[in-house]
């Protein structure tokens, strides 16, 4: 397991926190503006989180491959 794995855990926790915030906001706010905010902010943030998560996992995979050649890093 490379050093990047702890960052993946942190990012996953932040994503979970954001999903919770989204649900809470939706429970207080429900109109046209809220739907736009959902689409323009939360949906876009979800997509960014997904891309960043994938990039972190790819980095982790490559570092683990490197660790097999280098020894523990």
């Amino acid at each position: 397991m490379s050093l990047v794995s702890s960052h993946i855990t942190t990012h996953d926790a932040q994503c979970s926190d954001r999903r919770h915030a989204r649900r809470h906001a939706s429970s207080l706010w429900s109109d046209t503006a809220e739907r736009k905010f959902e689409q323009r902010f939360f949906d876009e943030m979800d997509e960014e989180d997904r891309l960043y998560s994938a990039a972190l996992r790819e980095l982790d995979t490559q570092f683990n491959r490197a660790a097999k050649l280098l020894g523990p890093i």
Binding site: A25, S30, T32, E34, F37, R40, E58, Q62, R65, L70
Partner: protein, 326 residues
Amino acid sequence: MGNRAKVDQSVFDYLRPQLKKYRLQTDELVRDVSHTIVKVKQQADDIVLERRRRLKRAEDELKQCECQENADCSGYRRQVEQCARQLADAVKGRQLIEEASSRFRHAQAKHAARVEQLLADGQKFVGAASERTAAYQKSTSYVPSTTLLGVAVSSSSPGSWGASTPQASGASINAGGGSSESVVAQLPWQDVPGVSVPERFPRGFALIPPKLIVNDNPVRGLDDFDAGQDAADLRWSADALLDVVLPAMKTVPDARDYLLRRDQSTGLTPPRSYVATYDGFFGSRAIVLSPNTDGTFDLINGRHRLWLLSQAGADGVPARIESRLR
């Protein structure tokens, strides 16, 4: 989510600090991952260097062996071959790290820029939505049942709107206390719910919730800044006010002196210094508000800083209160 439109003002109080938190989280994670990459690359360099040294030692030992007549050097040769393989592996591993890091840095830079843009847009959107609902409340007799002012509505008692915008006609208003406005009108501004006069604030200053501030000429974005205004410096000051200056004023008797010493110890100089921030918000160029009889405050000076503080998720705006009647 039901079909009925609903806006509880507390959602904006909730979202502003959330957006600020997302920015901090993103910045922190990006920085931490970058540190990790630097550390991993350094370790890989060290391992490659160490394996080069081992190979060199093994080659030297083989040479010494071969200088001896009739010596069996096969063990040394195997050692050299093994060290050469290990070095090749380490070089390959380091190459993997460099390539992966390069790809990741590119993705991370894109991510950070995109998130920054989303958060800026999000804050703008929340600010505008909040202003619309506040304006709507002000223009009607709507008063939430739990407060006198229609601000800082608790999540347990949301106002319910029949339409999504303040301009919509025929909105269904869930008024909770029609006579409350007259009660508010009789209150001195210091007693308006949400307003506070912190003990260590300079005389005449108070902390006012942004939603109580009526701004006829709101800033909509960075384009509204004047040529002589450095928005980045002002944004820095707004963050410094919330993160350092106001907390210091809560705990330190002579906050300005403390902030001056802190600037000196960390090498901060104006305009990006804590003491300059203090002077800006509590000096002659302070944000100035004038109390209205309905419990709101008209903005007299400081619309750009008000916007920046709102963007930064401030719950209270430090301002000098001046009555226009005086």
